[in-house]
């Protein structure tokens, strides 16, 4: 009796499994077309263009290789999968890829150098030693970043602190993961190596030497002027950092706002950073030459500027 019961139950299980499998297949088949349509239609400057996808893939791969290297190198696939599952990390890499796309576009069109912008030139020539030192440090970091973007890579040490912490947690989890326990090939001692590798990375990491921190530090040292909020003057990377500092928004979010579909948000952000309408117009036009400025920009900016309390944490202090 019992045998029968178990038998019929497992038949049901097989049926249920097949049903679930088919349902999943249907769902995938249905989502293929919209995604395909989006990708085929995508222009070069789309948020999901071939260029961006390839770059994100490359950067995830480079991070996975770097994290897997001290283990034994065989774990990079699993680490790569875990990294992609981290929304914060993926968003950061997407922002980096999109920033590089902006850098290249503006270099082509407006001859804005990826590294050597007028603002940076002035800072390097500054009579104030700390500003000069910060400017030189950023110059080196930005040049390094350009090279790594050209080769579609990213180093763990260049990530913001929160993401480094997350990446290290992923590295720590991989050798002890459930999956790993099932596989017979898990070699002894890998856990100890992972712990050593993590300690070494934590010891070596210094957020102050990352490109983004150096940009923020340089801009903080220069003080609050509107000069940094001009793309032509600052170059793309410093412009984005300046806008993030001024509005109190995360830099990755600010990068996202430079997308063609986000003109309105970019304008609001520039306005809340305290730019006059002329400055907003200039910034928007340099990033989006094809799209004309919406009518009524002047009103919008003036109304916002007249609001009693500015938007963002810097509103009161700036």
């Amino acid at each position: 009796m019992n045998d029968q019961a178990v038998h019929s139950a497992s038949d049901e299980n097989v049926e249920a499994m097949l049903r679930n499998e088919l349902a999943r297949g249907d769902a995938m088949a249905q989502s293929v077309l919209p995604i395909l349509r989006h990708l085929v239609l995508a222009q070069d400057n789309s948020a999901l263009g071939d260029d961006i996808l390839a770059r994100v893939r490359g950067m995830v791969g480079a991070l996975a290789e770097e994290l897997a290297a001290p283990l034994n190198g065989n774990e990079s696939d699993r680490i790569r999968a875990a990294l992609i599952d981290s929304p914060a990390l993926l968003a950061h890499l997407h922002a980096a890829a999109f920033e590089w796309q902006l850098v290249e576009r503006l270099q082509d069109r407006l001859a804005i150098d990826p590294v050597w912008s007028p603002l940076l030139q002035a800072a390097v020539a500054s009579p104030e030693p700390p500003v000069k030192a910060d400017a030189l440090a950023f110059l080196a970091a930005q040049a390094r970043w350009c090279r790594s973007q050209r080769s579609m890579t990213m180093a763990v040490g260049e990530l913001p602190a929160e993401l480094v912490h997350e990446a290290l947690l992923i590295q720590r989890a991989v050798p002890t993961g459930i999956e790993a326990g099932i596989e017979a090939g898990i070699e002894p001692g890998i856990e100890g190596r992972a712990r050593q590798a993590e300690a070494a990375l934590r010891q070596a990491y210094d957020e102050g030497t990352t490109r983004l921190a150096l940009a923020a530090r340089l801009l903080t040292g220069l003080g609050t002027s509107d000069e940094a909020l001009s793309v032509a003057n600052s170059g793309v990377s410093l412009f984005l950092s300046a806008l993030a500092l001024r509005t109190g928004q995360e830099r990755d979010r600010v990068v996202g706002c430079c997308h063609d579909a986000q003109v309105a948000r970019l304008m609001l952000m520039l306005s809340s950073a305290g730019l006059p309408p002329s400055g907003i117009g200039e910034a928007v036009l340099s990033l989006h030459p094809d799209g004309g400025l919406p009518a009524g920009l002047e009103h919008l900016a003036r109304d916002l500027a007249a609001a009693p309390a500015g938007i963002g944490p810097q509103g009161a202090g700036a």
Partner: protein, 457 residues
Amino acid sequence: MTAEQGAILAHGRSDGEDRLVSADEPLAGLHLRCGGEPSGTIAIPELLELVRKARCYKFRLSRPVHAQDGVHAVTAWVEVEPEAGEGGCAIRVRSWQSEVIPVDESAAVESRRVVTDRQLAELSARLDADQRLLAVVADAPDLADLAAAMANGLGQPWTDFLPIENGNRQQPLHWRLLDGSRVRVENSLRDWRVVLVPQMQPGSDPAGFELLLVSDEPAPPAEPEAAMGRRRSLVGEDLAPVLRQPIARIIANAETIRTRLAGPLPDAYSEYAGEIASAGRLLLDLLDDMTDLEVVESAGFGTAPDRIDLSEVSRQAAGILGVRAREKGIVLEPPQSSERLPAIAEFRRVLQVLLNLIGNAIRYSPENSRIWIRLENAGDRARVIVADQGAGIAEDQQARVFEKFERLGRSGDGGTGLGLYISRRLARAMGGDLTVESAPGQGARFILEVPADGAEG
């Protein structure tokens, strides 16, 4: 803001609990102006977050820190490096810029002040154009008397109830002169300030006022008795009502399957359904017992004693359990209906104890045996004895059967291990007791003892 190349403007150190154990100026000053204490927890919010992150991540962080001290807005570039060992951090300030916070427009300041006062007001009242009371609301305990007096005196000027400190009492005064003045409140130790918010169209006289009573001191702590309150019981009031219905449905449906009401079914499935139903019943019993347990263990538990006849209660209990006894072929022998034994106890509780005792006897007696329910008059005590022909209880186990969740190693027989514990608590709450006499192989005698009713006995 200038400094030598690579120089550090200020050093600081925090300990493992994020206290600023040492700091140079200007960091130390900002910490104090942000409300921090010397060697207290870091009071600059963004710096505190930075230090906590560095401590958690165990690596160096460098970020801008923004802060305001009321007069200046400060932006500083700060490096934080966790130190090995004690878990503290080294703090290095690399740049420091401070700007005077622009003064807001007076209209904006005024509207913000009104919003704040409305939030902080512990009494608010509506006044008409002549500052006479229309309505009053208060929630602070030390303002209750005042609010009651004001509610009784609607139509009078508010200054009748709130005498203004060191002010002349010549009414009517212009509202602007009264706004912000200090007032005394009877029965309150706090200092109070009156805020008058006019309701008016620009250019015309006020059509009425909002009167707010604000104090800079917090309300005195609530009376301890209010804080004590009655503790809500978890099982009895929260769990039992919501669990009972679904469990009852499980049992009812399992019974439907077991009795094949919905169609023919192999025997094995019918038996499974029977097990589901009995497990569900056990769950219901457990729920009832837990509810009782909470009641008998609560501090204020007592019974409502009444004049009852133990003979009558015993016969009722035997009647209720008669069917279950017959299922096992057990004969129940309750007292004869001619017998009487008056006692002082709560009918419901005595019945509950007897149902438990007789139920246990049925459960643990062999089939085709007898259970006797006898009465005994012992002067000022009245006793009911439930005796069975079961396996009996060894001497060393007799005390343990009354303990909470004691099952004497048994399981799977539908008991919860709470029945005897609850029964003894009930018996003692009625001024009596519950005891057992037994020897292995001799059956068991459970004796419920309650005060006898001397007036009738």
